[in-house]
Amino acid sequence: MNTVIGNPLPRVEDARLLTGQGKYIDDLGTPGNTAQAAIVRSSYPHAYIQSIDITEALSVPGVKGVITGKDVQTYLNPFSVGVSTPVKYYPIAIDKVRYVGEPVAVVIAKNRYIAEDAAELVKVKYETLEPIVDIEKSIEEDAPILHENVGSNIANHRNFHYGNVDQAFNDADRIIKHKFNFPKYTATPIETYGIIAQYESSSDQYTIQANFHGPFIIQSVMAGALKIPSNRLRIIVPKDIGGSYGIKAGTFPYMVLCAVASRIIGCPVKWIEDRQEHLSASSSGTDRVTYIEAAVKEDGKVLGLKMKMIDNVGAYIRAPEPACLYRTHANSTGAYDIPNLMIDGYVVMTNKLPTGLIRGYGGQELYFPLERIMQMIAFDLGLDPAEVIQKNLIKAEQFPYHTASGGIYDSGDYEKAFHLALDTGKYQEFRQKQEEARRKGKIFGVGLACIVEPSGSNMGYITIALTPEERAASLPKSGASEAATISMDPMGSVNVRISTTPSGQGHETVAAQIVSDVLQIPTEQINVVAELDTSTSAWSIASGSYSSRFASLGSSAVYYAAHKVREKILKIAAHHLQVAEDDLTIENASIYSKADPSKKYSVKRAAGSAHWNPMSLPEGMEPGIYETYFYTAKKAEAPDENDLINSSVTYGFVADLVTVEIDPETGEVNILDYITIHDAGKLLNPLIVDGQIFGGLVHGLGGALYEELAYDEKGQFLTGSFMDYLVPTAPEIPNITIKHIESPSPVTPLGAKGLGEGNTMSAPVAIANAVSDALKPYQITIDSLPLSPNKIWNLLSEQKVTNS
């Protein structure tokens, strides 16, 4: 049988998804006495709760109960979080609301209709307080304070110095600096949050089914909040999740809320979030202000960088924040060889929806200022932006490359990929076209972005939020683990159990490909179980679907688990055939001797022996075939005393070239061509790869041009529907050309790296660079997003540019 890894195999998941046989959270059966929840939410961004009158709601026939913050407080601790700031975050407001949409009461009724109607009858009296939504104003002396016991709105602040920044800035010919604003935007899966929670008093156990995809470190956070031993919190994740892009890590507060509601009311509780709730009160990316300064030589070489980043995590800092600020810590200098780096990082809280994972997590916030400043350097020095990028890119011979902040870039050929982008996009030709277009009064531009795409998070990186002294006082965290279990039943059929909780990425397909290769069994005969159950699955704190970790970590766990099975059946065959184990190989479901191919033993028989005839097994061997492998990447140490941290395990590369035309009359940005070159190491399934890249790119396109969770200055949330929150749909998707180069990772056994988030990180800035390039003749520079026609039109109008 030929190698299956690397083939563009169609996805095994699609048959069930396309024939309506997917098993999503809302498709799961529930016990007959299950009640439905509706949530009463704050319409004020900042207010004390004076009273909550539930009498009228309780009197509605079919209502089983109404619970408020005061009711749940008995059963809960505040959620723990990875900073020392004493923020008390509960899944429901206790005495104060801090964002519009924050839960203040939960109505439990026999159906959702009754619950929603009764929710309208809950009367909450508030004493309103002055809200704060502006990032920089939130840290001013006289800013309204969200958490009185914290004393300020700063949840975390750290300062990092790497190399010799002062020297770099002294040696510089020029210092180029600018301030950038990255907006708050989100991921919008078709399927919203869904939870079925049940408390059993007999065993004091909570069972929660939810479309939560980890990281499963949050299982401990939830158990801690519920004040129970962690094995009394069983979480079951259905095999199908209708998209997430990170956002469903944020189901956890609602899981705990439903769990407590089940306990108080005394029946299972189901809650399916609606779209308005999802946009206003689920989770989102952070908005960030970055002040960036680059020390540069006249030839465009960047000697050092200073970045002051202020990340807004909304009303409460909650797990896994402040990870957005630190996920990209190792790759803070991107694709460039810049040894001197200073980072002043703030995490602030304001009266907005709390944040969490979304695709690209931290990458788009980092690369927007970084790649914009690279273009500004070029413009300032009168150089071509491609030349400045080229000058600073890490060279192929520098790999493995150690970054200023402790990253170890495993492999790559950035120059090759970048040149492929320039060639594919016909960069020089476009520059000529642009000149001609300008003469005709048309506005053309080309944008470049080169970014490093981190994947497979080191669980130690989040502790960089603590000082080395604080870290020394607590237990270290490290590693990037994942588990997989592979069993062979008595008939030799294979089941694979994964803990990567896929939400549409095709993990089942790729897992089957890997097992097929190792055990030489056709993929159709391999059954992959993606459902995760914390009581029965092999999992670890790092398990789940985030940081593009399947290709780097999940696939590695599957690969090694398959090898354990392979070793066992080879041992069994060697024993029966009386040949040396290393003389045996497997091909087409048959084990045979390399020296004497007539000596054969079928895989099915080997598996059968392990089950039917354990007495025939080699001395000391356990019966059955059921192998679990816990994998961790090796390059995932805890941060050291100098704050050096390799925050991810593998690092891919993306080079984008995008060309745009801007309509001077409407300000609309029309993307002419989008070229993206990827190096994600060895590709496991190129068909899935391109699907993931398309999805990530369109999400990035949304961030660049359309999407923003907008709040007014008084903290009111303005984008609660898809008529207000614009996401790209099919007509908005431009021509996209994807090309690959493959620099296998030496860190992972299959040479693969994560992918699918890269263009979410790169597209916002690539497009912003294209627009800035287009508007250069008008002295307009882009420093905020999204680039709506309104924004561009206003910028053009301010410059008094008319169509003539």
Partner: protein, 151 residues
Amino acid sequence: MNGKGSLTLEAGIEKAWDVLLDPNVLEKCIMGCKKMEQESENKYNADLSIGIAAVKGKYESTIEIADIEKPSHYKLIVKGEGGPGNVEAAGIIDLTPIDENTTELAYTYEADVGGKVAMIGQRMLGGVAKLIIQDFFKKLGKELKRIESNA
């Protein structure tokens, strides 16, 4: 959100003043006003039922008349809370006599909304506010005429 406007009332200033501040007239002229009861002098409790975009619902409201300078100036403050969120609006009304039987009414207003109404009604709010205010004065004009003709 804010705005302003003016219109001509076909009544003398004293008459116009009386009608404008008559709670029975207010109840009839405020769109969606289901019930209005006096709580104290110049303060009323009302049930308002308003739909903005897809957000329809009831607001328990207070309507307060303040800064009274009879017969030329007052401030109307409406605060409402309900399932769809909250509304807070203040209008300043100035009356100027034109002749014995006509009065100029000028108004400015400021309104804030919160909660669900703000989330999905924002695009329409400006228009809706105008609609509600225009409707109020249209009905008021009719009411004035009716009262004048009955007199």
